[in-house]
Amino acid sequence: MTAPVTAKSIGAVSCHVCGLLVSNRFIAEHSPECPRCEAALHSRKSNSLSRTWALLIAAGILYVPANVYPVLTLISFGKSTTNTIMGGVLELAQSGQMVIAVIVFIASVFVPIFKILALLFLVVSVQLGMKVRRRKRALLYRFTEFIGRWSMIDIFMISILIALVKLQALATVTAGPGAIAFAAVVIITMFAAMTFDPRLIWDDERDDNDG
């Protein structure tokens, strides 16, 4: 069995916006832009691994304040309750809203840490030249990219509460500094998923039939 036929192996680039297959010769002779949609053409995302590393480290650092600092405070009849991300989940669980508590737990606690670890694994597996389970890793990447945005639930929830609950001493909700760190983690990991190039998982595939 020979090496798989890829755009790279035949000397061509696939446009990342419209998917048109353009030859390197055309790019050299005419323009570095896609002749169909005019997007800049790259065979692979530039500096994919180092950029993804940088974003993952940033997300990992911000993950700490995102979970330690409060994200919102409720003041009602002179009593104030302050919640962190995890505190908000526990409060929902205690008030018997198990379904909502599980949704918020998955979106706010599980997804961010899963995303960081999954991308870390993907980057390291490419750097170590891992040859097995390429299809499973491709699936892991697709899943990671898909779930990332859902962590914004808590940020939207806080924005709605602070806009709605402002009856002075009766009941007021204010945002906490943890919310900024949390939103930063979500957005930075979204960028990290976009910067990682899943084609790197396959680039050294030869005749090893690994599935």
Partner: protein, 210 residues
């Protein structure tokens, strides 16, 4: 594989966007899909009346988006006092509280990007329906690809549900008219995306220009 080594660019072959493997473009029927044989990524789709349907859904979505901005989303009542919020109030509240970064993030993901997606789709597809070339189809299609991940209306709906449940514990909350409009806007946007076939878009553009 029979492959002309001396091509400039081609629509007969396509590389998988996720693993780069070359596939010849298959003749698939409307409603069918083609996936990459190596990594399983979705490569080809065909839809019936793709461009017309997508335009219809985008117009519907824009109508509901306008309605979603006019009425309250939720109304909150406690001890005879009431407050309600509109779609943009969340972004404004963050901004006013000094969390301007979050104000911008919420404004972009719940207001700017979702409405821009619909407007770009309409300004792209409506002129084409009338046999004219859109203002700058290349730029519009690229813009659409870049806006897509940041339009988070469907996630905003879950945010509303969680806020609603949290408030129910200590006050009376009721659902406003805008919430229904917002949910319908999200449904229409999802359908506009699902029915849009980009290859049909490019071949129609070629026809119009010829």
């Amino acid at each position: 594989m029979a492959f002309d080594k001396d091509f400039n660019y081609t629509e007969d072959f396509r590389a998988c966007p996720e693993c780069d493997l070359i596939h010849s473009v298959p003749r698939i029927k409307e409603g069918e899909q083609g996936r990459c044989i190596r990594c399983g990524a979705l490569l080809f789709v065909r839809h019936k009346n793709s461009l017309d349907r997508s335009l219809a859904f985008a117009l519907t979505g824009l109508m509901f988006f306008i309605l979603a901005n006019v009425f309250p989303l939720l109304t909150f009542e406690m001890e005879g006092q009431a407050e309600s919020n509109r779609l943009i109030d969340g972004a404004i509240a963050f901004w006013k509280a000094g969390y301007w970064e979050l104000g911008i993030v919420v404004f972009i993901s719940s207001v700017v990007a979702p409405s821009a997606v619909l407007l770009v789709l309409i300004t792209l597809l409506l002129p084409m329906r009338l046999n004219r070339s859109p203002y700058s189809p290349q730029m519009q299609i690229r813009l659409l690809a870049h806006l897509k991940p940041w339009a988070m209306s469907e996630i905003f709906i879950l945010g509303i549900i969680v806020a609603f449940v949290k408030l129910q514990d200590f006050a009376d909350v009721s659902v406003g008219l805008s919430l229904f409009a917002f949910v319908l806007m999200v449904a229409a946007t999802v359908m506009a995306y699902m029915t849009l076939d980009e290859e049909a878009l490019w071949s129609r553009l070629k026809e119009i220009r010829a």
